[in-house]
Amino acid sequence: MAKGKILVVGGGIAGLTAAEKLARAGVAVALAEKSPYLGGRVARLHRYYPRMCPPRCGLEVLIKSLSRFSHAEIHLITEVTGVQRSIPGLYTVTLQKKSTDLNQQAEELVIDAQGIIIAAGADLYNASLIKEYGYGRLPGVITSMEMESLFRPEGPTGGLPVHPVTGGPLRRVAFIQCVGSRNKNHLPYCSGYCCTVTLKQVQYLHQSLKDIRTWIFYQDIRTPGSKEEYYRHVREEYRPVFIRGLPSSVEFKADSNELLLKSEDTLSKKRVTGSFDLVVLATGMVPPALTHFYGIEKDTFGFFSGHTPCEPSELRRSGIWAAGCSQSPMDAGDSVKSALAAVTQCLVKLQQQPSVYPEINTKKCDRCGRCVKECAYGACIMGSDGYPAVDPGDCRSCGICQGGCPLLCINLPGYGGKKIEEIVDRALSESSPGPSILLFLCGNDTYPAWIKLVTQVNGRGLEGIIPCSVPCIGAVNAAWINEALISGLDGVMLAGCHPDQCHHAVGTSLAATRLENLKETLSRMRLEPERVCLTGITIDESAKLLEEIEKFRTLLEKLGPNPFK
């Protein structure tokens, strides 16, 4: 296998954790951080919850440990400017390292990376976009990140919890939750971390100010798991008033230097109003803008959320994993966890034992590149000889490349065309009274469901069905379906995972596209397009599988024998 480093993009808590763990495991790592310092957002916090210890402590341990290793490089003020898959198993990454000396030219570094961990963090939502809260316009409206600095010695108030503008005392503080989040005009998702942050800041205030009173304007308080205990603790200990409802306006009263909030309390269905010294906006998180990474999977919101629950760090470009807030909005504790998950996957890849992977017959291949485009993992790339090559370390043996190859020159051992031909030939030599159906079964979900079904019904009701298991329904080549149909089999059924549950992400949807194309051709051929079908079956849906088979058989009986018979 190709040799290279592991590149960690981002030097926040997730990136540092990942780099440090890998370095400790003896892996050569390079960490690239775009800012001039390490620690990211966590370094600017006052306290971590739930232990309320200063984050500096943990970060410094990590940084010290990391810099001890000679096989760990740290590049500050450095950004990724290019990522290229050069040979199977290796990325060539170009980095631009700026100099602190303004007269110096930026330096270009090229790193051969066997893997990349994206821990680039997330940005905070720009609160001024929510006009009615007056952020940036009204004195005393601040974000929760700014609230953190109010308690830090290097902050604007020198660590004193006083009004950041007037320097006056704080008596009444309002927190507004979901600033940007859960709002289709801004961020359609829950940022997840901000409820706890507000509770933590309520605690800061009450611990340091005797006469402080706090209000929280919220939609739902989301503190799952152990965080519920923290919520209860803050609620009972400091008794902030929870107003269920988000303010419709914030106004500044110059005479009293107070902020007037108007809201609805949806619990009592009453209009409420109040005057505050300080309004803290709990802003949501925005996915990082990372160009240069081609083909990696993002969720609909733009986070690198991975294939949950099975492969949470997996971005469908083998050798690239996500960690921290790039993956989804999360707090420091979850960032560390996700970094550890990425490290695990990274180590698994580095140590992976070879398994079955597709063979490419370059004598038949025309280098059309469809396999490269369709591979869900980026495991298939154009090699230096111009032909596609599969990295055994990256390949998941799903066979999607085999399914899409127009020239049938990709063969996944044990699942390739030879096997299918034998099955079709055998099926043609056996005669059964009813329609003959070739049934492709996805090995992940549908095949186990089929086995269960066979044992349950003891084969009854399954006459004329020719089962054929494939690693993924995306591994079925359209030519096999054609072969079955033009040989005279009456119908072909593809039973795979539901599209959004495909273990190889794109298998079912690719199969659906291929089938749609075939159906159109069949209808031009005056051959009923219903003779081919795709159905989604999960592992526990044996009964549904039987139902679908029966439905299909009834349909085929109605259509009559295949005219190619």
Partner: protein, 107 residues
Amino acid sequence: MPPKVDQQKCDGCKGEKEALCEAICPGDLMYLKEDSLKADCRSPRDCWDCMSCVKACPQGAIETRLPYQLGYYPAKLIPLLGSKRVSWTCIGQDEKVERFSYKNRND
């Protein structure tokens, strides 16, 4: 009007290098249109009707039409290739359907 490309079905072979029809045509007649990256025949009159492009298209997006000077609309001839067999469906101008299916490669 020999090769007729279904612009919906054609996926330009996903825009990688050459499309398969473009690569295979013995007369260098197929190309990808610059704007849509869909295939088209640059000079239908120069087509020999060898149907290589129709057979090569992974999407089943190409149909061969007989030049109108030679035969009436809308007769069709559609090959469908399996792994070792080929089938042909011929639909006459009078909608009469004829089908052929046979082995085209030994193992």
